[in-house]
């Protein structure tokens, strides 16, 4: 990745303008044309650097409830269990991690009852009886933007 791409990714993450010609504003900052910015964004999406371009909303303010869940999944069941878990649109993140509790997923749903229902359904479908639910008490930092310009790109 070259410097222009890295700089563009930083701009796109942090302050994508809410104005009529956002790509024009960005192009001036980068010293390239508006068309070049659009093409570059398309390329970065195609290459997989950008997962999505769009709005990020505050789920709490929209009345949604979230929680973090962990479960112990035997190695041979991982695939099957992750299919069950991932099928819920309310489950947005699911990771395998290096721990006895190896599957970690987040639920963001319209109500606490819906969260309970999802957990119950996962237990029923997978036969795994224990799902630890870790409710948030306080949030100190939530920064999903990554400093791309600051990381050294070997290739």
């Amino acid at each position: 990745m070259n410097d222009t791409s890295a700089k563009l990714l930083d701009i796109l993450q942090n302050d994508f303008p809410v104005e009529s010609r956002p790509f024009l504003t960005i192009s001036r900052e980068l010293g390239i044309t508006e068309e070049e910015v659009l093409n570059l964004v398309g390329t970065l999406k195609k290459e997989g650097y950008i997962r999505r371009m769009g709005a990020v909303f505050n789920s709490k303010k929209l009345g949604y409830k979230g929680t973090l869940c962990a479960m112990k999944v035997p190695r041979e069941q991982i695939r099957e269990v992750s299919e069950t878990v991932n099928a819920f649109t309310e489950i947005t993140h699911n990771y395998l991690r290096t721990h006895e509790f190896n599957m970690w997923f987040t639920i963001t749903a319209a109500s606490p009852d819906r969260i309970k229902e999802i957990i119950r359904e996962i237990k029923e479908e997978t036969g795994i009886e224990k799902i630890v639910q870790l409710n948030s008490l306080k949030s100190f930092k939530l920064k999903v933007q990554f400093d791309v310009g600051g990381i050294s790109h070997a290739k």
Binding site: G54, W104, I151
Partner: protein, 158 residues
């Protein structure tokens, strides 16, 4: 309270932004409203804190962060605020939360640390502990991303 237009806008804006010169005009056309009206609603959403930002969500593994660690800590409640103050100063630390403990899970603080190597993660942890004191902690590296999407608001099932 959100009215039905607001919900339409939120549903629309959680899709991919069209890659055209005037993306908001295109979205407004799809919604059957003027670009000005859309901008006005977005500004209002921002003011209310409903809209956090418009922009790109990256695949962090792809952009070079190979070691993504969830570090969980057992820190007494009365020390949590103080510890968080130190933790959030690290740019490589993206999330910092306090959560309820459970019988099976004796940790209450959660930090996500994104590094180029596991050594770098460990350095950050020991650096943090030099400032906040020693506490029990565990590092859980992510080995597989099984799912990562965005929340879909106001859809039929959700």
């Amino acid at each position: 309270m959100l009215n039905s237009l607001d919900k339409d806008i939120i549903r629309k804006l959680q899709e991919d932004l069209p890659l055209v010169k005037e993306p908001y005009r295109k979205l407004a056309e799809d919604l059957g409203i003027s670009e000005e009206k859309l901008m006005e609603r977005l500004e209002d959403f921002k003011k209310q804190g409903i809209l956090k930002r418009v922009g790109a969500v990256l695949r962090h593994r792809k952009v070079g962060y190979k070691a993504n660690a969830m570090v969980v800590w057992d820190i007494p409640r009365e020390k949590v605020d103080q510890a968080a103050k130190v933790m959030i100063t690290y740019p490589m630390l993206s999330h910092c939360y306090e959560r309820e403990k459970t019988e099976e899970w004796p940790y209450n603080m959660y930090t996500m640390i994104h590094c180029e190597s596991t050594e770098e993660c460990k350095e950050i942890i020991s650096d943090i502990m030099n400032q906040i004191g020693k506490y029990d902690y565990t590092i859980l590296y992510s080995t597989d991303e099984l799912k990562k999407t965005s929340v879909k608001y106001f859809t039929e099932t959700n």
